[in-house]
């Protein structure tokens, strides 16, 4: 977390020329923490909110590298996003959620557990990167940043789809229903629909109303945050996924 914060600060402070080094150290440290926790946990570490955030932190490094290498995201905003996201993801893992592993309840003992949650993790990181680009686009270079965000969402969307489908098949096997209209399910479907609406809008208008595109991306990511955090942590939403809180 500290390494990622220093890496983000490195974008603003020319004195911190070791930005890349800090970023690499952040990747290695979060991967090591994740492996260490997996060794101690009762199963693959994706059950509790702590494990989810630890896994997100571990995935951030390779996915950011992928974006840099294959999507050409080497501008200062992308570099700032990598560090900031690392800090924001690992902070709750370090200071908010309890770290102790739990035994898996019967419903989670399924071959769908890892792919269902794992694909969502991939999607969420890519969508977070896209949201940073969209937010940046509201201030400067909107068309260029919207295009970067579009490429990221295009990459993330099949993961989001896969997570939704795998969850539905798992629910059918475990509880006999494809869909239980549980708050978490509804929010994750809302995310999927918002990004789908964005694709349709973009196919229709392109970047003619670029600010509308950017706002749609931000609303989509807000829905992602609600799915990931609000539904699990708020006592208001009662449903099948509350065990993860």
């Amino acid at each position: 977390m500290v390494f990622y914060a220093l890496s983000a600060a490195g974008v603003f402070l020319p004195a911190l020329r070791m930005r890349r080094l800090f970023w690499k150290a952040g990747c290695i440290a979060s991967a090591a923490a994740w492996l260490f926790h997996w060794f101690r946990a009762f199963g693959f570490p994706l059950q509790t909110m702590f494990e989810i955030f630890l896994t997100l932190g571990m995935l951030l490094g390779p996915l950011s590298w992928f974006c840099r290498r294959w999507l050409g995201m080497t501008d200062p905003l992308s570099e700032l996003a990598e560090g900031l996201l690392g800090f924001c993801i690992l902070f709750p893992a370090g200071f908010v959620f309890p770290e102790y592993p739990r035994p898996l309840p019967p419903a989670l003992q399924s071959p769908f557990f890892i792919p269902h949650v794992g694909t969502y993790m991939f999607a969420y990181i890519l969508l977070a990167h896209a949201a940073v680009q969209a937010a940046g686009g509201l201030f400067a270079a909107p068309v260029q940043r919207e295009y970067r965000a579009f490429r990221l969402v295009r990459l993330a969307f099949p993961f989001l789809t896969m997570g939704l489908i795998l969850g539905s098949i798992w629910a059918k096997i475990a509880w006999g229903d494809w869909w239980s209209w549980d708050p978490k399910e509804l929010w994750s479907l809302a995310c999927w629909l918002i990004y789908l609406a964005y694709f349709h809008w973009r196919a229709d208008f392109g970047v003619r109303y670029v600010n509308a595109n950017l706002w749609m991306l931000l609303v989509g990511f807000l829905a992602v945050l609600c799915t990931l955090l609000l539904v699990n942590l708020s006592t208001f939403f009662k449903g099948l996924h509350n065990y993860a809180g």
Partner: protein, 340 residues
């Protein structure tokens, strides 16, 4: 024309997203009624018809993956509608059938039944075959009731089969005390400290407040829940976890199916359902009464399942093809053109 289809799609998708967000505030139970209500049923039908007509758009002829994605969504919604309680209700009414969409079988050991009940306990029908419960077993996590581990070395300092009634002297001069027993233990933050309190009475989440007294006089506080959870200040030197004897690992119902006098034995566990006779049987729950344990098996009709599964495959292939494969091929071609 393309503009009409795309803009209407944005409106319908947006509307659906808003309905989802609204539904999440209703809670699972009410949301089920809301999304299976007649107006929403018509919304799905309109959405389905819109998708069906949109597939005739010439744009899809040159975009096969996009066609797969859209036709997949169409199949998923159609399959879902076909297997929905509302559609089944109409089939039963107009087709004079009596197929069960969803219900529950309640079985004690050595008991046979084909009667299906709804969630309120009302009998809603009978299966064309009998199910005999040979055995119902619950396996538990075999870790001890209360375990105290050294945080740094992970060495087990003590295991107790039960939460003790009074203070207990442990090895190494440690002393364990139970400070509080709660039916619904909740922790509240007050000036940086965790303060235990009794939560709402209608929720059962039993927990205990424990105190470890070290030989050097240090006091440490620990909070453990029967249902699999614990909390302690990060400065504490131990990990105290509590897993109640009733913490289950798996539930299993061994069922004998009798149809035409031929018995076959099947095992139904959580995440391991039984597909038989056009129905899926899954381990829903269990209860205990004066006679002992009895199992509650969920039973759902398999109507619409092939359509939904095919739809899912199409959606997945379409999404991967359209969003990953097509851009990749375009990029490779572009790079080739540049290199030429």
């Amino acid at each position: 024309m393309r503009h009409f289809w795309l803009l209407t799609s944005v409106i319908l998708l947006g509307l659906w997203a808003i309905l989802c967000i609204y539904g999440s505030f209703l809670g699972s139970q009410s949301a089920v009624f809301f999304f299976q209500s007649l107006p929403l049923f018509f919304f799905w039908v309109i959405f389905d018809l819109f998708l069906l007509f949109s597939l005739m758009n010439t744009h899809f002829r040159t975009h096969p993956f996009l066609f797969m994605l859209h036709s997949g969504v169409l199949m998923v919604i159609s399959g879902g509608l076909w297997g929905s309680p509302k559609a089944q209700d109409w089939r039963n009414r107009f087709g004079r059938t009596s197929e069960i969409v969803k219900g529950y079988l309640i079985l004690s050991e050595q008991e046979e039944t084909n009667k299906v009940y709804d969630a309120s306990g009302r009998q809603i029908g009978s299966l064309p075959f009998d199910l005999y419960l040979e055995q119902f077993t619950i396996t538990y996590y075999d870790n001890p009731a209360l375990s105290i581990l050294d945080k740094n070395t992970r060495q087990n300092l003590c295991t107790l089969q039960q939460i003790p009634e009074g203070p207990v002297e442990l090895e190494g001069g440690l002393r364990l005390e139970v400070l509080g027993r709660y039916k619904n233990l909740q922790l509240r933050r007050q000036q940086g400290l965790a303060v235990p309190e009794e939560g709402p009475a209608q929720i059962r989440n039993p927990g205990f407040e424990l105190k470890l007294l070290w030989p050097d006089g240090t006091e440490e506080y620990y909070y453990v829940w029967e249902r699999n959870g614990f909390w302690m200040p990060s400065s504490n030197r131990c990990i105290v976890s509590y897993s109640a004897p009733q913490m289950p690992r798996q539930y299993e119902s061994r069922i004998v199916l009798r149809q035409n006098g031929k018995p076959t034995v099947h095992s139904i566990r959580v995440n391991h359902p039984l597909f038989y006779g056009g129905y899926t049987f899954f381990q829903q729950s269990w209860r205990e009464n004066e006679k002992g344990c009895y199992t509650i098996l969920g039973v759902v009709s398999n109507r619409g399942v092939p359509a939904v599964l095919t739809g899912y495959c199409l959606v997945m292939l379409g999404a991967a093809g359209h969003f990953w494969l097509v851009p990749l091929v375009k990029t490779i071609r572009k790079e080739h053109r540049h290199s030429d």
